[in-house]
């Protein structure tokens, strides 16, 4: 019985395919899940409905990491998709393998027009080669900010959200004095505390201009302001101004914030939408991540994911993929993404048009463009273009494990960071050995 049912379904499907046989199909594997995954699927539906020549077949791969891994498996068997949505930490290998079609090249070859100069330099630099050619197409982009509880701040007598760490410390002291149990909900995050912190302070994460100039790179974050910052965080936790809030500790920082327990938490701007959806019972807002006094503030860099075009496909498929990518870059589609998620616009013209329309003047979008301000605070320099390291996920997890140990009082913070750096350097050396003789394009 069940078998019969399945057969019928297959017959139906077969007929459906015949009807669309004249459309050129291409596959797109994406990592986003849950409500964000639904948004990706919807962009495909919109694309398929908007034109008659191409059909995007979009397959959710349940997380960025699995999307990359599954694509590699498929690639090695020659059954890979044309498009892959990948996060930054997973792409160093892809860059060095050369098994991708740089999107600038793709657009030129397929005759699809994209105004590359329209992209924010902070985003463009991050996703392009030393020659200024875009490797991959920026799409869902974000940058970190901090979220604060306006009511708790008001009660503590804080009128303005601090932009310096000194100010943040003073604010956390006041919040504690006002009787609140939890000031900063802290979750160790290499992305925010180490990488973006180093960008905003214009200090290096690693040698070779953060890895851009060669593979023989060594980590440097144990020699910069980052050490003092982590020691401060440890001091705040010990003093009761900050509390560790992770899933393992019982509640994530975001949940602790949304429930009105903690006054501040740091996260990606993409959470702006989520916090709105969780409907906190108090007034709240966001602010750019603080910097230390006496240090000139620099730009932060983009996070999130971009879309990669893989090698080994037919010109028709490339044309279809190029059309889809250009479709995603239109103002309408960027706006669709912005309205349904917490991500930010990637092109200047879209941002300007949205500003002019008053998009950011009404809830739930008010102040979401503080992320733009953070991202474009200065022109990106050699140390604030981004980070290009192999084995990035392992490098991050070494940092996290060691910082956790230091925060739990197992070892001094400086010793922890030194260990993380020396272990991270082994990973980088191994990566360089794997790709001996190659360099980032």
């Amino acid at each position: 019985m069940t078998f019969k049912l399945a057969t019928t379904a297959m017959v139906l499907l077969a007929t459906a395919q015949i009807a669309q046989a004249d459309k050129i199909k291409f596959e797109y594997w994406y990592g986003l899940t849950g409500d964000l995954g639904a948004v990706v699927a919807e962009t495909c539906n919109r694309f398929n409905a908007a034109q008659a020549d191409y059909e995007a077949v979009c397959v959710g791969q349940d997380g960025y990491e699995k999307a990359v891994q599954n694509t590699i498996a498929a690639f090695r068997a020659g059954k890979h998709p044309t498009l892959l949505q990948s996060f930054d930490a997973g792409t160093a290998d892809l860059m060095l393998s050369g098994e991708f079609y740089p999107v600038t090249q793709l657009m030129a070859d397929t005759g699809v027009t994209v105004d590359w100069a329209d992209y924010f330099p902070g985003i463009a630099n991050y996703y392009s080669s030393s020659k200024g050619e875009f490797f991959s197409m920026p799409w869902n982009s974000s940058t970190p900010v901090y979220y604060f509880n306006k009511d708790m701040f008001a009660k503590a007598g804080i009128t303005e959200a601090p932009l310096t760490w000194e100010g943040m410390e003073a604010a956390l002291v006041k919040v504690k004095e006002s009787g609140a149990a939890c000031g900063l909900a802290y979750a160790p995050s290499s992305w925010i505390d180490m990488e973006q912190f180093s960008m905003a302070h214009n200090v290096p994460v690693a040698s070779n201009n953060n890895g851009y100039d060669g593979l023989d790179t060594e980590l440097l974050y144990n020699t910069t302001l980052h050490v003092k910052h982590m020691e401060n965080i440890k001091r705040w936790i010990d003093g009761g101004f900050a509390t560790i809030r992770t899933q393992a500790a019982g509640k994530t920082a975001r949940d602790s914030f949304v429930e009105g327990e903690c006054a501040v938490f740091f996260s990606s701007i993409a959470d702006h939408n989520t916090v709105h959806k969780l409907k906190p019972a108090f007034a709240w807002d966001v602010q750019m991540i603080p910097t230390y006094e006496g240090v000139e503030r620099h730009n932060t860099v983009v996070g999130g994911a971009s879309l990669w075009v893989l090698s080994g496909k037919t010109p028709e498929e490339y044309k279809a993929a190029a059309t889809y990518l250009a479709f995603l870059a239109t103002k309408e589609e960027q706006q669709f993404l912005l309205e349904n998620t917490g991500y930010i616009p990637v092109t200047k013209s879209t941002y300007d048009a949205l500003l002019a329309e008053g998009f950011y003047a009404k809830e739930p979008f008010i102040n979401r463009d503080l992320a733009m301000k953070s991202l474009t605070f200065t022109e990106p320099g050699p140390l604030t273009r981004g980070i290009r390291l192999g084995g990035m996920i392992q490098v991050r997890s070494e940092w996290t494990s060691e910082v956790e140990a230091a925060l739990a009082g197992q070892k001094p913070m400086k010793e922890a960071l030194d260990t993380a750096v020396s272990r991270g350097n082994e990973i980088l050396a191994r990566f360089a050995q794997t790709y001996a003789g190659k360099s980032f394009p």
Binding site: L96, G98, E99, A248, A249, A408, R430
Partner: protein
């Protein structure tokens, strides 16, 4: 193994061929490739590799954190196995008494096995969560006592309990099947001889369970070494500070997440050798005590 009865003939070949063919194609062929990477530095996107001999092994084995991972994996495997099998055996023996409602018990005890993996992690977060879960009630008596992000032993306890919970159903169902196939006449005869029910369980049923017991011991230990990353990933993520970084979880994060195929392959070989050694010990020393007929 026991004395065989039938002589070799084409029938044997025909009976074995399908299984061997399938494991050759879907296990040995791909595994051999994956294991070959252990001796190279493999580029994940297939751009080739460099032969490095035993370097990957040297690197892994000289890492003090790796030995911590081996240690916690052994602890985890033994603890989950003992916990799950004790509980499963106890429950099976008592369900087998077939008192009123035993059918309901039976279904309920097998139930955990039907819960899909992504949901298991969450369900246990509700249990162990120091701020909001069932265990938070301990913290309302002794504030700060239960904190998975601070105390390694608590994190290990949490994954052991969750791991055992998932395994109980598996062991229970096979214990029960084995108990049910003990002929009634045997227990009845013992009852006639005046043996009390508890005595009958110990003297009569348990020896007859040894083949199943041995099967479950081997499978449980193997499984807890090779099939534990779902629980670790959702409950502790390997933390706090690597306390629950089980070998298989490390393989998964190094290879699957970080694309270090060669390092992961070397670790896989070490894991395989360890599990094989343990299995060999069990076949050599435990199986001797198994009553087959």
């Amino acid at each position: 193994m026991r004395r065989a009865y039938f002589k070799f003939s084409w029938i044997v070949a025909a009976l074995l061929a399908p299984q061997l063919l399938i494991i050759f194609v879907f296990f040995y062929w791909p595994s051999a490739q994956a294991l070959y990477w252990a001796f190279t530095l493999e580029q994940p996107w297939g751009g080739g590799n460099t032969w490095v001999g035993f370097d990957n092994f040297k690197k892994v084995l000289s890492d003090p954190y790796y030995w911590g991972s081996v240690r916690v994996s052994v602890i985890y495997a033994l603890a989950t196995t003992v916990l799950a099998m004790t509980m499963a055996l106890t429950l099976a023996v008592f369900v087998d008494r077939q008192l009123a409602g035993y059918r309901a018990y039976r279904v309920a005890i097998i139930w955990p096995y039907a819960v899909a993996a992504p949901a298991v992690g969450l369900a246990f977060q509700f249990v162990f969560n120091p701020g909001a879960g069932i265990f938070s009630y301990i913290n309302s008596v002794a504030p700060g006592w239960w904190d998975l992000s601070k105390y390694p032993w608590q994190a290990v306890t949490a994954i052991v309990i969750a791991g055992a919970w998932k395994q109980v159903a598996y062991s229970f169902i096979f214990f029960l099947a084995a108990l049910q196939s003990i002929p009634r006449s045997l227990t009845e005869a013992a009852a006639m001889d005046g043996a009390r029910p508890l005595r009958r369980m110990i003297d009569l049923q348990l020896p007859l369970l040894t083949p199943t017991f041995f099967f479950l011991l081997v499978i449980n230990i193997t499984d807890s070494f090779t099939d534990s990353f779902g629980i670790v990933d959702t409950l502790t993520g390997g933390g706090p500070f690597r306390a629950t970084d089980l070998m298989v979880y490390k393989i998964y994060t190094d290879g699957f997440r970080s694309l270090d195929y060669s390092g992961a392959a070397a670790q896989s070989i070490i894991l395989m050798l360890l599990v094989m050694a343990l299995t060999f010990v069990q076949f050599r020393y435990v199986e001797r005590r198994v009553h087959y007929t």
